[in-house]
């Protein structure tokens, strides 16, 4: 490695996580640990009906019998589930504020620091935001306008009260609580998250957005998102996440379920920037996320786009079950790991219906001492006639202390289905670097340009509002550190 590259690498290593501040806000939380009492406490805090509580308790019983999945290429100490707070809410949030003027100014300031000026976004960008602070949804903007179209966009706790029939019907229908231990855990203790329902033939006129923030120490965040797109509807949903800089690892185990009925389309974009830990690998978020979409109706489409730059450990596989004939699943991902970060991420495309199509584009970039794994599963079941999949996963490596791994599982049981998979791993092309340098770009600029080009296929899938943020994030993460 040349000196210039080492210098820029060092420089990057000194870049600090800019969302690592803590908001000094009083929070209301019960004792640590997990038992039936805590679940009852959460349920009571949320004023939930009995059916919800018994569902939670059933899930808890399932979780007790399960052990954590071990197949991922990740190394982390055993999680002590009794050493975590399962509920934390900014004090005085028993009743959710009606509008932004009732929200604690400190919270608004926090979101402004994060670049989520709720007020401003509400007016200018036309993005409806649901902001989740620790375990509680703080504010949902633009609600009134959405209601006129019949769109429901609220926190999941609210939806349990206002739309119990939809929650009852769809909650846990895509990710069964018994699927694995993290999904069972989330089902038992989920505290908040977003709920979206788009009625028949409605195209949601704006991007819906949620911002998640873990603030309180030793708190786990367990959010649950449920999006239902009824026949012929369309919605684009954005999700962003940050957390303060802390020495201890924090747990984040979310479940996201999407359901697309006939001719419906859901576009789900994530920029994940949880605190990744410091240069020595101390602290950071353990991010165990289960995201699954069900293309239930004919001609439906679900598209996942993710930019993963944060978290000490990422375990995340946004998947699609392509059940309806002619349905489409897409997965676009950029995963960047640095220092001692570990990421095991990818997708699962299960083709059940006829003429179903899926596309996977994954870009992994590893730096420092990090480990970055792409794990993908593409399967064609017997009835998936004429189904098609195209997978491309590319990895870039910087330095010989990091690792890039590609583990695809391809299973075809149908002879008319076609699957194509290709992957490559390499370092930055010296010729491209030389070409850019010749034209007067600095080493850093050249690297940034090439890497942005490397990720472009994915970044261009992000909605405008996120594309800028994501591009900046990629540049920061890679500034001069590839060479």
């Amino acid at each position: 490695m040349d000196t210039e590259t080492s210098q820029t690498l060092d420089k990057y290593a000194q870049d600090k996580y800019k969302y690592g501040f803590v908001t000094e806000i009083e929070s209301d939380r019960p004792k640590k640990g997990l038992d039936e009492k805590i679940i009852k406490f959460i349920s009571q805090k949320k004023n939930e009906p009995n059916w919800m509580l018994s569902w939670r308790l059933d899930c808890y019983k399932k979780w007790l019998k399960m052990s954590d999945p071990k197949w991922a290429n990740l190394k982390f100490p055993r999680i002590d589930y009794q050493d975590i707070y399962y509920y934390s809410s900014p004090k005085g949030f028993e009743n959710k504020p009606k509008d932004l003027s009732e929200v604690d100014p400190k919270l608004i300031e926090t979101y402004n620091k994060l670049g989520i000026p709720l007020e401003e976004q509400k007016v200018l960008a036309g993005v409806a935001v649901d902001a989740v602070f620790d375990s509680v949804s703080v504010a949902t903007t633009y609600k009134g306008e959405l209601e006129k179209l019949g769109i429901v966009f609220c926190s999941i706790s609210e939806a349990v009260q206002t739309h119990p029939e939809l929650v009852k019907k769809y909650l846990g229908s895509v990710i069964p609580p018994g699927d694995h231990s993290f999904s069972a855990l989330n089902s038992a203790v989920f505290t908040d998250g977003s709920f979206v329902y788009i009625p028949e033939n409605v195209k949601c006129p704006m991007e819906l957005s949620t911002y998640f923030r873990i603030n309180a120490e030793e708190t786990g965040q367990f959010e649950r998102t449920l999006i239902i797109a009824d026949k012929g509807s369309y919605v684009s949903y954005l999700e962003g996440c940050t957390a303060p800089q802390r020495d201890r690892n924090q747990l984040h185990a979310a479940n996201v379920e999407l359901i697309a009925l006939e001719n419906a389309e859901i576009k789900y974009s994530t920029v994940q920037n949880w605190y990744p830990g410091d240069e020595e690998g101390k602290g950071g978020i353990y991010n165990f996320v289960t995201k699954r979409g069900l293309c239930k109706g004919k001609n439906s489409k679900i598209s996942w786009t993710q930019v993963e730059t944060g978290s000490a450990v990422t375990w995340k596989y946004p998947s699609c079950i392509l059940k309806g004939d002619n349905s489409i699943g897409e997965f676009y991902s950029v995963a960047i790991t640095n220092n001692f970060q570990q990421a095991d991420t990818g997708t699962k495309m299960t083709h059940i219906g006829k003429n179903t199509r899926s596309k996977i584009i994954s870009k992994g970039i590893s730096l420092g001492n990090s480990q970055n794994t792409y794990r993908g599963n593409v399967s064609f079941l017997r009835k998936a006639d004429k189904a098609r999949n195209y997978t491309q996963c590319d990895s870039l490596l910087v330095g010989n202390k990091c690792g890039a791994h590609t583990i695809p599982y391809i299973d075809s049981k149908n002879n008319s289905a076609v699957v194509e998979h290709e992957a490559s791993t390499s370092k930055i092309n010296e010729d491209q670097l030389y070409y850019c340098r010749q034209r007067g770009l600095s080493h850093e600029e050249a690297v940034s340009l090439i890497v942005n080009g490397f990720c472009k296929q994915v970044l261009q899938e992000l909605p405008m509002e996120f594309a800028v943020e994501a591009q900046k994030l990629v540049s920061i993460s890679l500034e001069g550190s590839v060479g």
Binding site: K70, W71, R382, S395, L397, V398, G399, N400, K401, C402, G403, A404, H405, T406, I407, P408, Y409, I410, D411, S412, K413, N414, N415, S416, A417, V418, V419, E420, H421, E422, A423, S424, T425, S426, K427
Partner: protein, 408 residues
Amino acid sequence: MTFENNFINHSKDYIFSANETLANQREQSFRKILKNNYDKKNNESLKNITISDLSKFDYFYKYENKAPKVSVLDSINYEIRVVNGMCQNFEDDNIEIRNLQNYDFNSFLDQDNNNSDDIIIDLNKIFLNSGIFFNIKNDTKLNIRLIHDTSDNFTVFQNNFINFKKNCEINFEDHFNLSHNTINNINYNTKVEECAVVKHNIFQDFSSSNKLYLTSNTVCKKNSSYNQNTYNFSKGFVRNFHNISLNGEFAKASLKGCFFLKDENICTNKTNIVHNAEHCISDQTYKGILNHNSKANYYSNTFVSENAQKTEGYQLSKGILLTDHCSFFSKPELRIFADDVKCSHGSTIGPVDETALYYLRSRGINKNEAMKMIISSFIEEDLQNLDHQARIIISNNLTNFLNSLSDD
């Protein structure tokens, strides 16, 4: 016969049975199999394999009067007939061949065994009843044809050691002439020394009552080259499991495989290439054509350690499914810890290309002939480097396979 009975009744028949260290290890492996303590969920090489079926067999092995023979056809051509795992002891200026002796015990224990969670390797260790030591001497240029003859009902658990010494250039061929109802669990430990060039062709063609578990662990030293081609036309179960370690700089390894399956047949292929030194190149290509209710699995892994800079590693798997009752599972893995590498993998599974079929049919060729042409061309590129005799064997087998398509 149950697994316990096999183990207890025949314990004196095994090689090195007097040795206490091995006896303990065998006992451990025996208990492990009894407990069925294998991580089947996370170990895909055990997919489609029922552990109880593997351990339930009638152990049968005895020394027969059929004399194995080493024939020196001319100065460079050797034909070695191995009967039920035994060979004729032989030595000349070029090669040394002998059956395993008690003093080979240490080599047996030292063998690079990175398949710790593999029941087939464990079974080989427990029931080991034969083994051959090959020494191919420095600077030789030879064609060696090895024919495995196994008599009816024999269960052969064989562990072979091959040393390809410096600068040799060898064409090594394995042919399996299996009778009926045989089990052949064969393990190769191969060393390819500096500047040696080895071409290893494996032809698998036997009836459905036979089973073959072929495992190889190959270590390549500096500037050496090891090319393995496996052609599987068998009607019986085959598991090919090949590990290669590239331990010296500029070593090259290539693993190619073609399998043609029909009826209820199952074939499992696993390859694992470990790059431990700089400037090494590896290439893996596996192709399969599946008919009727057959099932195939292909797992490949290219591992590049952090000091193996300037590595090139390529993997490719292609599968053609001819009916909607067959299935193909593929898992091409890359695990890379060095940054200055060029690695890639590709995998495709699908039916015969319809455009190609249409093109041929529109030129007046009937469907069967068109299918045959497309399938022949699918593997043709892998036959380019074969010598004339090997090509004839493959062509005959391919013609048989293609003719069986027209019978359906």
